[in-house]
């Protein structure tokens, strides 16, 4: 038994290398080959993936050469990957039309480790409609069917949600709808200040230099099918939103989880038919079909993330640069150091105490652009008044912020959901109207939440000068088992 299995394995390997997946090369149809070379900082052992008419992969030999044989005529995309290296061009499109193609060459150079995703707060990775204190990343999305890829920047990095979502207007590669009931899966989400509607489709997602991972993502499309009434006024376009999409990477594995897998009327997932005007119907969505935390689907570096942002001076900056590291303790660049772990409850909250007030539903959220909370003493932290000359429709841009007489220094206490540990957090709230109108990144800004809110929303300024960890549920690191935050 053992010896016969041993013989089968090499035979299978030969088949995979010599014959593209999906078959179809028999029956007398003419086939061709695509070949090329990788040179530069590294040549050998580079994985070259082929997609398009057929799907396959090959590894370069010691001279950097690779080839795919047995290919029918059609369009193909080749993409070299090796952890720690970048390639020029990143991918190559090759048309096989009755003849083999050679000379599909790539040049390699030493790049950042594969688990590094650059962040800019405002700055070059954000869209032109970005708002104050907005952290942006770029994500590459590939079609599961054609293999074609596109890189989309201006994606809001959001530790207050889970899942990758991209506006339909920006997608140029075809994704694969997910069947649900008699139609296709869609979802309606509340993001507090806006609602989000659109289909859930399968994409191949590339984060940083990691290998692509197949997963459901949401296409943000307010006009898709017949939205439920809760999503009748869903966000319509990137300019209104201020971002091109959302990359949600908190500590949960799916956006909804078991509640939506077991309950039909969950208010989140719907099955839609795109022909006719029938309303979408509520459905339970199996965990595998829900929009996942993309980090959890990676082959490695999949147990959480670290957000690293620099110190920002009180007067502000035009923009700032930081890093999203994938994985915790999985490489030399993401080993936990000098941080305290705080567990979170089933809703993703821990407790903050400030000025004698308890905020049990508190959270660390890069998707919020200030410190937002119901002030313990509103006379100390009054909301700004609307400046004269501002039309009423724009007043909320001012009255939504705190305007203390002078910058107020505060110390809160954060307490893990399990009751310990706890630790102090010092922060400041400046007069919002005194900030420079020509800068975009500010550390000391905050505003009032509705008085009934029992959560302290630690927005982006919390992150300045810190490494903040999010441990994914069901995974472990040297810090413990997720879900947790650490800083």
């Amino acid at each position: 038994m053992t010896s016969s299995r041993f013989l089968v394995a090499p035979a299978l390997a030969l088949l995979v290398l010599g014959c593209p997946g999906g078959g179809g090369s028999g029956g007398g149809t003419a086939t061709f080959s695509i070949s090329g070379t990788v040179s530069g900082a590294v040549a050998a052992n580079v994985l070259v993936s082929l997609s398009g008419k057929e799907t396959s992969s090959a590894t370069t030999n010691s001279a950097g050469a690779f080839s795919f044989t047995g290919l029918p005529s059609g369009s193909y995309t080749l993409r070299p990957t090796l952890s720690g290296y970048t390639f020029t061009p990143p991918s190559a499109s090759v048309a096989v039309n009755g003849a083999s193609q050679s000379g599909v060459d790539f040049t390699s150079s030493v790049g950042p480790p594969a688990n590094v995703v650059p962040i800019t707060v405002n700055g070059s990775l954000c869209s032109s409609s970005a708002y104050m204190n907005e952290p942006c990343v770029a994500v590459t999305i590939c079609s599961p069917t054609t293999g074609a890829c596109q890189t989309i920047d201006g994606i809001l990095l959001d530790t207050g949600s889970v899942g990758l979502r991209v506006f339909a207007q920006l997608l140029t590669v075809p994704l694969t709808p997910i069947a649900s009931g008699t139609g296709q899966l869609a979802e309606c989400l509340q993001f507090g200040s806006f609602t989000d509607w659109g289909p859930v489709e399968t994409a191949s997602v590339v984060l940083g230099g990691e290998p692509a991972a197949s997963m459901p993502i949401q296409v943000i499309e307010s006009t898709y099918a017949s939205p439920p009434s809760a999503c009748a006024s869903a966000i319509t376009d990137p300019t209104t939103a201020g971002f091109n999409g959302i990359l949600g990477v908190n500590f949960f594995a799916q956006d909804c989880g078991v509640d939506c897998a077991s309950t039909v009327g969950n208010g989140v997932y719907y099955a839609c038919t795109t022909s006719g005007t029938a309303a979408c119907s509520e459905v339970a969505a199996p965990l595998a079909n829900q929009v996942p935390n993309p980090v959890g689907l990676l082959a490695t570096d999949n147990n959480g993330v670290i957000v690293q942002l620099p110190v920002v001076p009180p007067q502000g900056l035009l923009s700032a640069s930081g890093t999203l590291l994938l994985g915790i303790g999985t490489r030399s660049n993401n080993v936990p150091s000098g941080v305290t772990k705080y567990s979170v409850d089933q809703f993703g909250g821990f407790e903050t105490q400030l000025g004698g007030v308890q905020y049990p539903g508190s959270f660390l959220d890069t998707g919020s652009n200030g410190f937002f909370f119901a002030a313990p003493d509103p006379s100390q932290l009054p909301a700004c008044t609307c400046p004269t000359g501002i039309p009423p429709s724009e007043c909320a841009d001012y009255t939504g912020w705190f305007c203390p007489a002078s910058t107020l220094s505060l110390t809160a206490t954060n307490i893990a959901a399990t009751g310990s540990p706890s630790g102090p957090v010092s922060f400041s709230i400046a007069n919002f109207l005194a900030l420079s109108s020509s800068l975009n990144v500010f550390p000391d800004v905050g505003g009032p939440d509705p008085s009934a809110s029992d959560g302290f929303d630690w927005g982006l300024p919390f992150y300045f000068g810190l490494d903040v960890y999010f441990g994914l549920e069901g995974t472990t690191s040297s810090l413990g088992t997720g879900p947790y935050v650490a800083y």
């Binding site: 708002y131 309606c188 507090g192 009327g265 969950n266 919020s368 724009e394 009934a452």
Partner: protein, 156 residues
């Protein structure tokens, strides 16, 4: 065969739960608490216990995605609604006659970018929402209908 039995059983469960949900009656905002039987039914909700508090009564419903609390005055009029869960409940049956005003106010409320909360303030009705994924919170109330001694802070 064993697998095929599941579908009829599930369907039967759905019929039973809808029938159970249709029994209790909780009203829409501004309406008498006992006047509208369609509200709980419209949300496919199940009714939980009522709780008497100082100056008002809380009626609690559970939908598949959230817990909804309706606040009624001693005169039996619903003056506030609060919710918490994985999704916001359908406000159509809950806001009743205030739905049109709310929708008009919402259309004029600019998106609060970078925030997890929103206030939609109309001439008669206020709708507020806050929280984050898996902990969606909010409330709606009519300030003019608050019983004496009750503040908006009580509606949560």
């Amino acid at each position: 065969m064993a697998r095929r039995l599941f579908a009829p059983l599930l369907a039967l469960g759905l019929v039973l739960s809808v029938a159970a949900a249709a029994l209790p009656a909780v009203a829409a905002l501004g309406e008498p608490v006992a006047s509208v039987a369609s509200d709980t039914k419209a949300l496919a909700a199940t009714r939980r216990a009522d709780t008497a508090r100082q100056g008002y009564t809380v009626h609690e419903l559970a939908t598949g995605g959230s817990v909804v609390r309706e606040f009624s005055s001693p005169a039996g009029v619903v003056f506030g609604i609060a919710w918490q869960g994985i999704a916001e409940p359908d406000l159509t049956p809950l806001l009743g006659s205030y739905l049109t005003e709310y929708r008009a106010s919402l259309a004029e409320t600019p998106p609060a970018r970078g925030r997890r909360s929103q206030q939609v303030i109309g001439a008669h009705v206020v709708v507020e929402r806050w929280g984050h994924m898996r902990n969606i919170r909010g409330r709606a109330y009519v300030p003019a209908l608050l019983p004496s001694g009750v503040t908006a802070h009580d509606i949560q």
